[in-house]
Amino acid sequence: MPLLTVTNLTVYFHTRNGVVRAAEDVSFEIEKGETLAIVGESGSGKSVTCYSLMGLVPQPPGRIESGSAIFDGKIDLLKCPPQELNRIRGKRMAMIFQDPMTSLNPYLRIEDQVIEPLMIHEDIDRRDAVRRGIHALEEVGVPDAARRIRSYPHEFSGGMRQRVMIAMALITQPELLIADEPTTALDVTIQAQILDLLKDLKKKTRMSILLITHNLGIVGDLADKVAVMYAGRIVEQAPAAVLLKKPLHPYTIGLMRSIPKLGAHAERLQSIPGTVPDAARLPVGCKFHARCDRAQGDCTLDPEPKLVEADGSTRRVRCPYWDKPELKRTIP
């Protein structure tokens, strides 16, 4: 049984400028010990999807229009009352955020912040909690943790703050870790250290990870499965190695071609023309048709293409022409 099953999740924001369709009909599963990466550009709906699982979508203006997210076979995260969600959040599932510079409270010592989940969720006295806090910091590679736990956030570098965030998330040994662009704000050498750390923890604890990223290199490094999102929809879903080797959806193909590869020495990059559509004014039909090099007349009509199984049943693609790479664009 999967640890988390998300089915037909749809999230809209009702704003003065109209309805922003942030996530539409999103479905995925995460098994125990598995890492799923959700890949997408800004506005693709990847963050909203995860925020709604943690009950962090501000309502209003946001509204979960439909769908379910069954955690551990029993609890629907989207419908359970706040008190029940509070027993799971920070205990059985935890989240780390993109920006380590602003996600810690500057007024509180690291100590108070790292042990906060323990003090809330477990019947533990403060001294034991601090002891576990020091241990958690050591686990994520903060040197001299017993002394450093007394410091304030500004005394830490960006990479060290992200380690503190991870220690805080992991101190209750959650079954699911949601990591929203955990390394985007960090330098590459620090990013590499944090990725190594996450890989290590995965091996040691059999924790499941839902990783949000825009970096396909990180997917190759860390993920077992990938879901690629575009304009609020999953457009392609596959095991990570399979997808990176042979992407099928024209968007995924375009995305991979537009990344320069070290040592490739291509004269020009192949870019995707145009920009990501505004989620309040999505086009009719396939949401990618305006930028697609394979678009046909029927791509501009509703209903939009459905996610269909491809290559046996190992993967799913939202494009009726996924198996016709030779097609040329026929619409203006």
Binding site: I259, P260, K261, L262, G263, H265, S271, I272, T275
Partner: protein, 307 residues
């Protein structure tokens, strides 16, 4: 002859403390950098945050006054020139900034943003000529002349970066410093801007100093690459060489840290600073030891300790 030449350039900033705000130390953001950029080439400058790459770029244009050293442009020493003397140089060297949201004045129309450098340098005889020139510039970066009447907030990040490029091109510069021009953009838009910069370079024979932290992007666009670490250039080589055969341990660490799509292309991870040392010690050793540039292969330079 090189278009831009920098010799032993330094930019140091005092760290002040106490009531009298006396300097108690110095941040050596740029610490004795020498480099040369030839006409028509792209030189990439990579390094992690805080290494001084942006300060180096700004000091080269004297947007920050150098503490010591010499900057030569087209053979002329511009280090000592006064404001009026700098004006012809300002036309020949321009900058494209990282943040397409913060670098355009939100209260000015796109037309005025692009026309401002034209007015400062009095490049158009009348309003009509100016309008035509702005339209031409907009077209050259893939926008339409109608966009001139709109305001920055109506544009996406990629489009704003195109506007920033059009503004830089307005004065027909020879040399452009691109400071992280694509790092704030979405992946699918990054490639468009990189391609645009390359097309413009060929069409207008531009010379670029391309500053970035993304090694793959730098390697793609550059002819030569400089690796910067704590205010110094630690390695310099052709883009191909530096990728295939890095020499300095910091360059090796940087390359091995890039996550790759193909697991088979993975380099063995090299840790920097070396195990058992801290970043602080690595910096101290770089600043206190006697270092020298050595040519390890033809046109491949490494900063090494002198025994």
């Amino acid at each position: 002859m090189s278009l831009v030449e920098v010799n032993e350039l330094k930019a140091h900033f005092p760290v002040r403390a106490g009531v009298l705000q006396r300097p108690i130390g110095w941040v050596r953001a740029v610490d004795g950098v020498s480099l040369a950029v030839n006409e028509g080439e792209t030189v990439g400058l990579v390094g992690e945050s805080g290494c001084g790459k942006t300060t180096l770029g700004r000091t080269m244009l004297r947007l920050i006054e150098p503490t010591a050293g010499e900057i030569r442009f087209d053979g002329q020493d511009i280090t000592q020139l006064d404001r009026a003397g700098m004006k012809p140089f300002r036309r020949k060297a321009q900058m494209i900034f990282q943040d397409p949201y913060g670098s355009l004045n939100p209260r000015m129309t796109i037309g005025n943003i692009i026309a401002e450098p034209l007015r400062i340098h009095k490049l158009c005889a009348n309003k009509n000529g100016e309008r035509e020139r702005v339209a031409e510039l907009l077209r050259s970066v893939g926008l339409s002349p109608e966009h001139a009447r709109r305001y920055p907030h109506e544009f996406s990040g990629g489009q704003r970066q195109r506007i920033g490029i059009a503004r830089a091109l307005a004065v027909e510069p020879k040399f452009i410093i691109c400071d992280e021009p694509v790092s704030a953009l979405d992946v699918s838009v990054q490639a468009q801007i990189i391609n645009l910069l390359q097309e413009l370079q060929e069409k207008l024979t531009l010379t670029y100093l391309f500053i970035a932290h993304d090694l793959a992007v730098v390697e793609h666009i550059s002819d030569r690459v400089l690796v910067m670490y704590y205010g110094k250039i630690v390695e310099e080589a052709s883009a191909e060489d530096i990728y295939r055969d890095p020499v300095h341990p910091y360059t090796k660490a940087l390359l091995s840290a890039v996550p790759t799509v193909e697991p088979s292309e993975k380099r063995p991870r090299i840790i920097w600073p070396p195990l058992g040392t801290t970043a602080e010690q690595a910096r101290a050793s770089l600043q206190q030891k006697k270092l020298e540039r050595r040519e390890v292969r033809s046109n491949h330079w490494v900063l090494e300790e002198v025994a």
